[in-house]
């Protein structure tokens, strides 16, 4: 048993992480942590979001790093390999996560980008499945993975592997419906740790707040909390709300279960749901039902 656990963590950046998250997803499902709101449509969407990018990204990233980068950055392959591991990890952690913060924030604050990110927010539940749930075009076009691959090409391979593993675990844990952060708020001597932790990294409480249906109850805050691995960006830019409570409902207030294919492949395929943001003549951004 211990042998398998060891192998899982040795291959965390390969097959290890998907297997680990699949196990966590099964635990969440078995304990009914998906709020019984995940129907067949949501299940197909979550499953495709998990599997398809893994198949498509390999040849795309191989082409990007082996064909495109040598042309775009000739003679620079490995030119930063002298950077010590620690500093390489810090540089990559900041470059990767700050870029993703911006990617995320712009998809919320620039109306024309919202529909690419909407699929990630339409889930009326939380769990590791939501971590993967994304529109395919959004994943392929707007990923900061290309920046990380460029840094690997320049010679920061080992630090990149380390940061990718850490980041995946933190971000997946923030999406999980297992409230692992609750003991930090309940047990008094852990309060100083909680204070630092909730300002530094995304926790289930702060990230669940970002996926809440409303921003008006003092708990939910979909208008902010854009940080992925680090929450510190939200603190610096004033876009964060630190909460230790969990929202009562998740998703989008006007969500009427758009078809999985439209959510996964918009704008190539459109939704048949009337007035949906993903329908052919739908609004770019539909105002909340409660507003």
């Amino acid at each position: 048993m211990l042998k398998y656990v060891e192998a899982l963590f040795q291959h965390i950046n390969g097959w290890g992480l998907p297997v680990l998250l699949l196990i966590v997803g099964c635990i969440e499902f078995l304990f009914g942590l998906y709020n019984r709101k995940a129907d067949r449509n949501e299940f197909i969407l979550d499953l495709l979001s998990f599997a398809i990018p893994k198949i498509l990204f390999r040849p795309i990233l191989a082409y990007f790093s082996l064909q495109l980068l040598p042309v775009l950055l000739p003679g620079l392959q490995g030119s930063l390999s002298w950077v010590p591991f620690f500093w390489g990890a810090v540089i990559i952690a900041v470059a990767d996560d700050l870029t993703q913060y911006w990617n995320h924030r712009l998809h919320h604050q620039v109306p024309v980008l919202w529909r690419f990110h909407r699929t990630h927010h339409s889930a009326p539940y939380m769990g590791v499945a939501v971590y993967f749930r994304n529109n395919l075009i959004h994943v392929l076009l707007f990923s900061q993975v290309y920046l990380v691959v460029t840094l690997v090409y320049l010679g920061l391979g080992y630090p990149a592997l380390f940061v990718a593993g850490m980041k995946s675990i933190i971000v997946a844990a923030a999406h999980s419906s297992i409230p692992w952060d609750k003991p930090f708020y309940r047990i008094k001597w852990l309060h100083p740790v909680a204070w630092v932790m909730e300002r530094f990294i995304s926790t289930p409480a702060t990230h669940h707040a970002h996926h809440a249906v409303t921003s008006d109850d003092g708990v939910g805050y979909y208008k902010g909390n854009f940080g992925n691995m680090f929450f510190i960006w939200d603190i610096i830019f004033g876009t964060g709300l630190i909460t230790r409570k969990y929202p009562s409902a998740y998703g989008i207030s006007h969500y009427e279960r758009d078809e999985w294919y439209a959510q996964f492949l918009w704008p190539v395929l459109k939704s048949r749901v009337r007035d949906s943001e993903l329908s052919a003549n739908g609004p770019v951004v539909r105002m909340d039902d409660e507003e």
Binding site: V83, P84, W87, W102, L106, P111, I236, F237, P283
Partner: protein
């Protein structure tokens, strides 16, 4: 649907701050090398030249 003026202003302001944040770890790394008197990029270059000349 257009982006709100106030939001656009904040995006520009925070974008400028971000440039400093991106540069910060690189600046700290070189400060560290300066304090320690290390020049790892030169060491690598010398090692590469030695390998080529062998």
């Amino acid at each position: 649907m257009k982006i709100e003026k106030d939001v656009a202003k904040k995006l520009v302001r925070d974008g400028v701050i971000s440039l400093f944040l991106y540069a910060l770890p690189v600046a700290l790394m070189f400060l560290w090398f300066y304090i320690k008197g290390e020049r790892p990029w030169k060491e690598q270059k010398q090692a590469t030249e030695l390998t080529v000349n062998k």
